[in-house]
Amino acid sequence: MIRKLFKNFFLLTALLSAGTSFSQEKEKPEYSAEIEVDNLYFFEEGLYGGQHRNYLSFSITPDVFIEWKDGKQSLKVTGFLRVDQFDKNRTHTDIRELYWQTVSDNWELSIGVKKIFWGVTESVHLVDIINQTDYVESFDGEQKLGQTMVHWSYMANFGTFDIFYLPYFRKAQFPGEQGRLRTPFLLKRDEIDIDPKSKEFYPSYAGRWSHYAGVFDFGVSYFHGIGREPIFQNLDDLTNFSISYPIIDQTGLDIQATTGPILWKFETVIRKSAVQDLTAFAGGIEYTFGNIKNSGLDIGIVAEYLYDDRGKYAWSGLNNDLFSGVRFAFNDISDTQFLIGGIVDLSRSTKLFSVEGSRRLGESWKGTIESRLLKTVSDEEFTYFLRGDSFLKFSLSKFL
């Protein structure tokens, strides 16, 4: 396993250096890397066999960027390697980005592996659908796997049009037997099928029109292809449920209005598939009290309402929930910041509290703290499987 991992990583290193020789008389390539060590501690013993209380892990994220022809062409490569003390599935490599890009006056074309983000809300990312989530990497789903694509972006004076051809689908990886934050049964990546039966080489397509006018920024998006989230059927019966990736059609809308210190945010998706339909939305505000008493401190209050109509055992437990949080940004030389928040289910008993904080140490180090506390988790939602997995994580990163 580890050997395969390093083989992949060496392959990536070879790609990185190939990229370098590509540049020749062109402008100098820029190299950078982040090396991180983290310690993940769970407050309670695991509910399922083989789990541990404390996990040490290490990751490296190397990056190369080269541009030539006055920046009209470029190559970007970002690799990723994680080695986890116990969880074999969390030990993984990925090519986060590996794409060539050419730019003209009003359009740009990218071919390769890339990451795309859509949306405006803070607590969920409903419209964001291009990349598969790296479930073993992050609790909040903000880490993504690289996605192979041809991406064409055209800028008109009535907005930006993005068109995506996504030839290859990536199945999600879930924690292994010794990992935490998992279901009692193991979700095995290669055993979850696409329904109707298909290979990962199934082309998906997506398009987005985004624009801004005065205080408004908005985007309208459409996706057809393999849904990134697997769907459970019959999860009431743990011995006879099924799980698969459906072919979906999803329409999304995201809007933000920026009025003085208040940001108004709204996202919605309508998803259709043969086995399950979905309507979900998230909306709320972010109010920032800037530079309080001339100390440089900004305090931001975020409140968002989250709705999802899938009901019991949907992939998301955010069916009728309220997120609220307070963000502290000290704007000091160390860029110290904290986000304290909670998601409260308005129709079930589940509560999730979280603290995230970070601070730069010296010129090129950074310390991060993250804690998630799950309380009175309802047995009517997917999160119930994770009810014993409240954790505290420290990480230390060095930037090269």
């Binding site: 920046g71 006056d105 920026t258 920032t288 800037g290 704007n331 030389i333 860029d335 090129s364």
Partner: protein, 258 residues
């Protein structure tokens, strides 16, 4: 009779104060007019932050600016260091009278976020510069009052007081020293909301480009209340670079930060 005298006095006072206001405004306009026609510019910046104990910390940035006549300028700043935020970039469309439009690019998430430009008085990157100190200087953002002529740094200067129009500004007033010959800025004193001297900005190592665009090689902001200091060093200025609107789009913002 006494009343008549008072009225004459008031009228005279009114006339002179309005003529001082007029002269102040003319100087501010002349400064903008003098610099008009640079079209676009690019420059590399080094920011040196010094704390009260004299410890230094360095930041590197790149800036590009597009000159607009009817509206405020557009600008894009990319942060190359500290390394944990390298690639973070901001795009600002300055407006003469309405609030600026501003977007932030976060490279780790590949996310472009429209942000509030409301918090003008807050510190830029933990420095002694506030966001409003670095934003495009549009005439409409202040009211003016000419004070006097005096010699500073061996040059004769026009001293003008300007009061921010925006109630969200961190200042009650600023006192600006304009070079009498070419209207370049020599020094600015910033007075906080309680009207006490907060900061002084001094401009040095001026160079002239295309015979009329004066740019300081160094700008030093000293905070008198905290004893902290921030120096900005500008290198590699280029003007009339051929940049256009497309270089100040959200796609350009993403590309600038990778």
């Amino acid at each position: 009779m006494k009343n008549v005298k008072n009225i004459i006095g008031l009228v005279l006072f009114g006339l002179t104060s309005s003529s001082f206001a007029q002269r102040g405004l003319e100087i501010a306009k002349s400064a903008i007019d003098y610099d008009e026609g640079f079209e676009s510019s690019t420059v590399k910046l080094t920011m040196i932050l010094t704390n009260r104990q004299g410890q230094e910390s360095k930041r590197f940035m790149r800036n590009r600016t597009l000159e607009l006549m009817e509206d405020g300028d557009k600008s894009l700043i990319v942060f190359d260091s500290p390394k944990d935020v390298a690639g973070t970039a901001t795009l600002t469309y300055t407006h003469k009278t309405s609030p600026d439009d501003q977007w932030l690019y976060l490279p780790a998430l590949k996310r472009v976020k429209r942000i509030s430009s409301d918090n003008k008085s807050g510190p830029f990157m933990g420095s002694e510069f506030a966001f409003e100190d670095l934003s495009s200087q549009e005439v409409e953002k202040y009211t003016y009052k000419f004070i006097k002529e005096e010699t500073i740094n061996g040059v004769s200067a026009l001293v003008v007081e300007r009061d921010p129009e925006d109630a969200k500004s961190g200042y009650t007033r600023q006192v600006v020293w304009y070079n009498k010959d070419n209207y370049r800025l020599e020094k600015i004193d910033f007075y906080d909301r309680r009207n006490s001297l907060l900061k002084t900005l001094t401009y040095s190592k001026y160079k002239v480009f295309h015979d009329k665009h004066w740019r300081a090689g160094e700008m030093t902001m000293t905070n008198h209340q905290t004893g902290k200091k921030t120096k900005l060093i500008f290198e590699g200025y280029a003007f009339k670079t051929g940049l256009d609107d497309a270089d100040f789009s959200q796609n350009s913002l993403r590309r600038a930060g990778n």
